[in-house]
């Protein structure tokens, strides 16, 4: 599913125009990006959490030069699947406290 299909689907569900849906989706993604840029984490209900992880300078293998190299410190965006989605996707049942078995 690409972005256009997602916009149409959400617009149909909510009964809003595609343009409005697109504007809202773009605003959402933009806000997530801006928050990740300043180091915040954003949780979307039912879906998961967008966060950043910082990797310290480390040695690693580089296939391009077929050699090991020193990779610099970097920050990457990460996504953690939410529990509800995980249960749905993994098809596992949680007990009464909500923790997956």
């Amino acid at each position: 599913m690409d972005q256009a299909e997602l916009i149409e689907l959400v617009a149909k569900e909510l009964g809003i125009s595609n343009a409005q849906s697109q504007r809202l989706l773009r605003a959402t993604l933009r806000e997530i990006r801006d928050l990740l840029r300043v180091g915040h984490a954003v949780t979307l209900p039912h879906l998961g959490t967008f966060d950043t992880a910082t990797y310290e300078e480390h040695r690693g293998y580089r296939p391009a030069s077929n050699d090991f190299a020193l990779f610099p410190k970097r920050r990457v965006p990460v996504f953690r699947t939410g529990t509800l989605l995980r249960e749905d996707v993994y098809d596992i049942e949680s007990d009464e406290e909500g923790a997956p078995t």
């Binding site: 997602l6 959402t28 989605l85």
Partner: protein
């Protein structure tokens, strides 16, 4: 991945509402619906591409054996589907902005990296062109030198400090009568077959000796032979039009007889004496050579 950097969903909704210029209720509803739609899509195992943001996709993991980390009891992990998010470069670069300037460092420096750089090749080409141009210039200069300087100068021995015997440009007197019979008996050699040479412009004793015998260093012999006729008494100056007698050698310059060597030694002595009279600093060198020649003869 700590919890202290999380912002509340309410604050996020406010931000989205302000960005999209809608009410926060609308934004809240939209984000909830968006998340629901996306999770439904992921449950069916589909992918979601979000332009300039990232891609959600699922992978299927088969049943595998594992253990409970608390009780260390073996258990079987059932087959399940896992959700992955792959950020696109726009998002990655935005997040990595604080460390953008850092680069990968090679642990073992690559010594052939310069081959990939065009600057090095251009520099090498320029250097080669410069060398070629320099070589052309030097060779041209050498050929010019060869045409300007007489040949004997280029091959002159340092030992003798070869003088340039330039004939001064003077009005030549009446052409000397060719006297085939040299009345000068001082050199005790057979000069019955002496040849006559007329000095023209540009001739030197050095060049005349080279033409006559093939060895320029015998030029004092010519000078000594013709010294009575040369009014200047200067080994460096001969007049245009003067006729010079070139004595015939008993042997040759390459295998001289004793008489020839004596002739040569005497000639060097005469030249040294004339130089001495003219206060020419070359006198001592010629005197030394003459003495050396006489010594050799005496030792024989």
């Amino acid at each position: 991945m700590s919890d202290d950097n999380k912002i509340t969903f309410h604050a996020f909704t406010e931000l989205v509402a302000r960005c999209a210029k809608v009410s926060s209720v609308e934004a809240d509803a939209y984000i909830h619906q968006l998340a629901m739609t996306m999770s439904e899509e992921l449950e069916t195992g589909g992918d979601i591409h979000l332009y300039r943001f990232g891609r959600f996709h699922t992978t299927h993991v088969g049943e595998q054996a594992g253990h409970d980390p608390n009780s260390d009891a073996p258990l079987t992990i059932p087959e399940h589907t896992r959700v992955h998010f792959r950020p696109y470069s726009a998002l990655r670069f935005a997040v990595n902005a604080p460390f953008r300037q850092l680069r990968i460092k090679e642990l073992t420096p690559d010594k052939t990296a310069w081959r990939m750089r065009s600057g090095a090749w251009i520099l090498l080409a320029l250097l080669a062109i410069l060398l070629i141009v320099l070589g052309i210039g030097v060779s041209r200069m050498l050929t010019q030198d060869a045409s300007v300087v007489p040949a004997e100068k280029a091959s002159a021995k340092v030992e003798l400090a070869s003088p340039v015997y330039e004939a001064p440009v003077t009005i030549a007197p009446a052409p000397a009568t060719v006297t085939t019979a040299p009345a000068e008996p001082s050199p005790p050699t057979a000069e019955a077959t002496a040849t006559i040479v007329s000095v023209s412009s540009g001739d030197t004793l050095w060049s005349i000796a080279a033409i006559a015998w093939g060895d320029s260093y015998w030029w004092p012999v010519i000078y000594a032979e013709n010294r009575p006729e040369l009014s200047r008494r200067n080994p460096d100056l001969i007049d245009i039009g003067t006729t010079l007698r070139i004595p015939a050698l008993a042997g040759s310059v390459n295998s001289p007889r004793t008489a020839d060597l004596r002739l040569k030694a005497n000639a060097y002595r005469i030249v040294a004496d004339d130089y001495q009279k003219l206060d020419n600093p070359r006198a001592s060198a010629f005197a030394k050579l003459a003495a050396r020649g006489i010594n050799k003869l005496n030792n024989k």
